[in-house]
Every structure is written in structure tokens, then in C-alpha cells.
């Protein structure tokens, strides 16, 4: 493990990703310390950045910097909850499909195929619309379902690799139950690919959630949410306040970039071929 940790921490781009993610987490944790309440009107409307309002104010008189910081909290919460759903559904499904095979595997794999035969953005839109749209919970559920199929595939593939190995046979010979073998013997040996996928999926979840908000299927208009802020900014591109595009857009891009860099770094660190080469 320590060799892998060293490989990860020697990777400069991975460290850059870790810093980006760290900044966003810090912003989310300290959001309550923001100078203004994100949903309370201030005295100025549509003003450019100044000493009082670091990133200016929007057309509702809300302080953009405070909304941005609260947006970090909302983005992380949505992404973590969605990835949580994907893990809770995908990992057991993948374990069962890979372990039992046969018709169970067939049914689960076909269901995954149906979902993957669908453009993911459109699937998320359909699910969010069917759930009624217009709330954070809807977004979490829609995104969680859409990003789950790769987890099923990944875990299933990992189980198939581990299943014929001796230590699994040993656990079986000791009389361990299926559940015990799956969760105590098989699962710990599939941690690496799941960890990489979880990191990369967090970035995808942030992007998908922002897209749903942008289409009007996310939280209400006054919520401090990056996707909602961009929907608002869309109106400004015809006016002179085009800089309003920058804060939420850069926030989303840099956060997702951070998760992607960390995911790539983890993937490199876990890949035995790359380790032996360096």
C-alpha cells in the first residue's frame, strides 16, 4: 500500500487535483462563514465586483461570492449522495451478477445494457421529469441512477477475476456463507477499481447535476446552485454583464477537473504495470 501511496503522491497532476478538491471541500465546510446570506437581497443589484461584494451581485440583489461558496456545498452534497446511490445499487448488483452467474447475471447484465443503450443526459432528464423535477432530491436520484451502470459492470468484472483464485476456494472450504465470502473476501479485493470509479463518477455527477439544473429540472431559481446560476447568466450574455458567466462556470470546471485528476492519479497508482515501469 505504501508503494502505491508514494506513487500517488509523487504524481504532480494528482496533487494538483487533490488541492482543487481540497479548496472546494473547504469552501463547502466554511460556507456559513460567507459574508452574506445567499438568498437574502442586499442593497445593490447587478453590480460588478467591488470591496464589499467580491464577485458582485446578481439581478435579485444576491451576493454572487456567497452564492458561489454555498453552491460548493450543494454541488458536493448532490454529487456525494448520487454516488452513494450508485454504490449502494451498483456494488451489490455487480457482486451478485459476478458471483452467481447464470440467469441472475443475465438479467442484471441486460438491465445494465438497456441503461447504457441510452444517452445518459437524456436518461437523467427522463427520470428527473418522471419524478416531477424541481428539487434537489430529484436531481440526486436521477443522477444516481444514471451513473450506477458502470459500477455494476466494474464490480462484476472484478468478481469474475477474483472468483477462481485459491483464497476464495479456501474461504469456501472453511464453510463461509456466500454473503461472508462476497463482502469479506471478494469485495476487499475489488476496492481499487471501485475507488477510481467513485472518484471519476463524482466529477460526472457534478456535471450531470449542473446540466439538469440548467434545463430547469433542478432546485428552484433562488437556490445557491451552480447550474441555476448559469441559467441566470445565460440571460446576461446579451447584455453587458457577461462576466457573470465566469464564477459558476469556472467553479464547476475546476471542481470536476480536480476529481478527474485525482481519479487518474489513483488509477495510475493502482495499475501494477505502470508501477513496475517506473
Amino acid at each position: 500500500m505504501s508503494r502505491r501511496r508514494r506513487a500517488f503522491f509523487r504524481n504532480r497532476t494528482a496533487i494538483a487535483g487533490l488541492v482543487l478538491v481540497g479548496v472546494v471541500v473547504l469552501a463547502a465546510l466554511l460556507a456559513s462563514a460567507a459574508p452574506f446570506d445567499p438568498e437574502t437581497r442586499t442593497d445593490s443589484f447587478r453590480t460588478p465586483p467591488d470591496a464589499e461584494h467580491w464577485l458582485g451581485t446578481d439581478e435579485n440583489g444576491f451576493d454572487v461570492f456567497s452564492r458561489l461558496v454555498h453552491g460548493a456545498r450543494s454541488a458536493l452534497l448532490v454529487a456525494l449522495a448520487a454516488v452513494g446511490i450508485a454504490l449502494a445499487v451498483g456494488v451489490p448488483a455487480g457482486l451478485v451478477a459476478g458471483w452467481y452467474g447464470g440467469w441472475v447475471d443475465g438479467a442484471i447484465s441486460r438491465a445494465v445494457d438497456v441503461m447504457l443503450a441510452f444517452p445518459s443526459v437524456l436518461l437523467a432528464v427522463a427520470i428527473a421529469a418522471a419524478l416531477g423535477g424541481g428539487s434537489t432530491g430529484t436531481v440526486i436520484l436521477a443522477v444516481g441512477i444514471v451513473i450506477a451502470p458502470p459500477f455494476v459492470r466494474q464490480v462484476r468484472a472484478a468478481v469474475l477475476q477474483v472468483r477462481p483464485l485459491d483464497y476464495v476456494a479456501a474461504a469456501k472450504a472453511l464453510g463461509a456463507s456466500d454473503a461472508r465470502i462476497l463482502f469479506r473476501t471478494v469485495l476487499p479485493n475489488c476496492v481499487a477499481p471501485i475507488l477510481v470509479l467513485t472518484t471519476l463518477s463524482t466529477g460526472i455527477a457534478i456535471l450531470d447535476a449542473a446540466g439538469l439544473s440548467f434545463l430547469g429540472l433542478g432546485p428552484p431559481e433562488t437556490s445557491p446552485d451552480w447550474g441555476v446560476m448559469l441559467t441566470k447568466a445565460r440571460v446576461y450574455i446579451q447584455h453587458d454583464e457577461q462576466w457573470m458567466l465566469l464564477p459558476p462556470g469556472l467553479a464547476i470546471s475546476l471542481t470536476v477537473l480536480g476529481f478527474n485528476l485525482v481519479g487518474d492519479g489513483l488509477s495510475d497508482a493502482f495499475d501494477p504495470r505502470r508501477l513496475s515501469r517506473s
Binding site: 438497456v114 441510452f118 445518459s120 437524456l122 432528464v125 418522471a130 450574455i237
Partner: protein, 337 residues
């Protein structure tokens, strides 16, 4: 070929499952399109609901929909104006197809070139550029990029930005067009004024959308090329005195193409539906935007179901095409191994 045939046969239950899902989801919510359309005329509402069979259980409605489609290729009529949705959806599908095709072409060409050069010259400035492209394309939200492109084009280059597929002033010139692939048809008919207008309208949305396949193809090309270049046959080819360019382009690239073609096919399908965000930013009259704005907002199940079926069908057709491409690229597949 039998493989391709099997793929087609598997497609039908898949499409059935997809349409069932749409009807189940649409039926799961209280209220429907009638509440919205006949908000002020309760009697007309009940009459219309009976006429359209909206009170039947969703399985019955789904059965009727599937039989209608299977026997008459009928995609049912809209709940908003009782007009057939098929022709509208096909028109929107063509607009999305034109946008996706241009974005894919741009993305794949740049992605292949940058990916190959990054693999041949690792750690060169080009390799770093490739990595920036690859990471940027999957990290930057495409709808934000679209808006930034609009601002930059209008402010910096004075590019006259307008939405839709062509300049409305040219409406007379496209009246006799048989398809809605305006860019292609105007080129075939040599109507260069229309072609120029279409190209100008397509440029920004295609550029924005192309960053997604560009990123994915760059990444895949680079890693597949690096993987293949390490293999013995590449060393052998070099050792017997072939020029480096020939080894890279004729030997290595050919083997690396399989995963690249696969990912390109998957990307194409994803973009056909995923273009909805780009279409919204640029007011492009595409299918995804139509499904969201006309279908989802008004709870118009035939529009949603038909639109999603068309997208899923395109996705499956593209993947079928990819299977056939394997045969061209890889002789082992041709000989049925």
C-alpha cells in the same frame, strides 16, 4: 455477419423495454397533459381523455402504442394539438444528426491527430496540449463552454450570432429541400449562399459539442497507440528497416483502431441525446431540446416516447455500423474468429 444479425434481433426487446419504461414513468405521476391543456374546460377535458384513451391503465396504452408502431409505423399523435408526432420528430432528429455529425467529425479528426502525435512524441509540448484537451473536454460543462464561445465570437470577432439552422431570410431558397440536413443538401444542390449560412450557424454549436468526443478520442488514441507501440511486432517492423512513419500509420494505428472505433460509436450515440444542452444554449431546433421543451414540460408522452425511441434506435444503428467497421479493420473478425 451473423453477429450483426444477432445484434439486430436483440435490439427489438431492448426497444420494447425502453418504451415500456417511458410509459410506466409517465403514468407514475398524478395528473397528465389534459389538466394542462383543458385547464379552463373540464367537460372538454373528460371527453378528450376518453377519446384518446388516457384513462386506460398504462399497460393498455403501451400495448396500443406498440401495436400502432409495429403495424403502421405510427408514433401516435401529440397530446398538445393531436397532430402526428412522427414527422416533427424526424425533422428534429435530422437537425440533431447534422449537429452531431459535424461535432463528431471535428472531434474525431482532431482527437486522432493529437492522440497519435502525443503517443509518438511523449512529453513533448504536443503531448501536454493533448492532455489539456483530454481533461478539459471531460471537465468543462458543454453548455457553459457554448455560452463562452458565443460571448467571445460576438465580442471579439464580431461574429453575427443567431440561432436556428440557417438565416431566416433564406427561407425561400430552402423551400424545395427534401431533407432537413440543410448543410449537406445545400452542398449537393450547389446552393452556396445557403451552404455558407448553414455553416456559419453550425460552427459554434458544433465546436462546443465537439470538445466531448475530442477529449475521449484523444485519450483513447494516445493510450491505445502507446500500448501497441510497445508490442513485439512494432519492434520487428522497425528492426526490419521500415520507416517510423510507416510503422506507426500502417502497423500500429491499424491495431489501435479497434478500441478507438468502439469508443467513437458509443460517443456518437451519447451525443445524439446528450446534445440537448448544446441545443438549448444555441436554440438549435434539435430532438433533445424538443423532447425537453415540448415533451417533458407539457407531459406529452407520445413526444417523449417517440423521441427517446428514435434516439435509442439511432444509438443501436450506429453501434451496428461499428460492428461492420470491425470487419473492415480486423481480418480476424472477417474470418469469424
Amino acid at each position: 455477419m451473423t453477429h450483426a444479425l444477432r445484434r439486430i434481433l436483440v435490439t427489438f426487446p431492448l426497444l420494447l423495454a425502453v418504451s415500456l419504461l417511458v410509459f410506466a414513468l409517465a403514468g407514475a405521476l398524478p395528473g397528465d397533459a389534459a389538466d394542462w391543456r383543458f385547464a379552463k374546460q373540464p367537460e372538454a377535458k373528460e371527453q378528450w381523455r376518453r377519446a384518446r384513451g388516457l384513462d386506460d391503465p398504462f399497460l393498455v396504452r403501451w400495448g396500443r402504442y406498440v401495436t400502432g408502431f409495429a403495424t403502421r409505423l405510427d408514433l401516435d399523435r401529440s397530446y398538445q394539438d393531436d397532430e402526428p408526432v412522427g414527422p416533427v420528430l424526424l425533422r428534429k432528429l435530422q437537425a440533431t444528426f447534422e449537429l452531431t455529425l459535424c461535432a463528431m467529425t471535428l472531434g474525431v479528426l482532431v482527437g486522432l491527430a493529437v492522440g497519435i502525435l502525443s503517443a509518438v512524441f511523449p512529453r513533448s509540448p504536443l503531448d501536454y496540449l493533448g492532455q489539456v484537451l483530454a481533461l478539459g473536454g471531460i471537465s468543462v460543462p458543454v453548455f457553459w463552454l457554448g455560452m463562452v464561445l458565443i460571448v467571445v465570437a460576438v465580442k471579439v470577432f464580431g461574429f453575427p450570432f443567431s440561432s436556428s439552422q440557417y438565416d431566416p431570410a433564406l427561407a425561400e431558397r430552402v423551400k424545395d429541400f427534401r431533407t432537413h440536413l440543410y448543410l449537406l443538401e445545400s452542398l449537393v444542390r450547389l446552393r452556396l449562399d445557403v451552404f455558407a449560412s448553414c455553416a456559419r450557424h453550425l460552427l459554434l454549436p458544433a465546436l462546443a459539442l465537439s470538445t466531448i468526443p475530442m477529449a475521449v478520442v484523444t485519450r483513447m488514441t494516445r493510450s491505445a497507440m502507446l500500448e501497441e507501440m510497445r508490442k513485439d511486432y512494432a519492434t520487428t517492423a522497425r528492426a526490419k528497416g521500415l520507416r517510423a512513419r510507416r510503422v506507426v500509420l500502417r502497423h500500429v494505428l491499424r491495431n489501435a483502431l479497434i478500441p478507438i472505433v468502439t469508443i467513437t460509436g458509443l460517443q456518437f450515440g451519447q451525443l445524439m441525446g446528450g446534445a440537448v444542452l448544446t441545443e438549448t444554449v444555441f436554440s438549435w431546433p434539435g430532438l433533445g431540446r424538443y423532447i425537453v421543451e415540448s415533451g417533458v414540460r407539457a407531459r406529452d408522452t407520445p413526444v417523449i416516447a417517440g423521441g427517446i425511441l428514435l434516439v435509442a434506435t439511432t444509438f443501436i444503428l450506429v453501434n451496428l455500423l461499428v460492428d461492420l467497421l470491425y470487419v473492415l479493420i480486423d481480418p480476424r473478425v472477417r474470418e469469424g474468429q
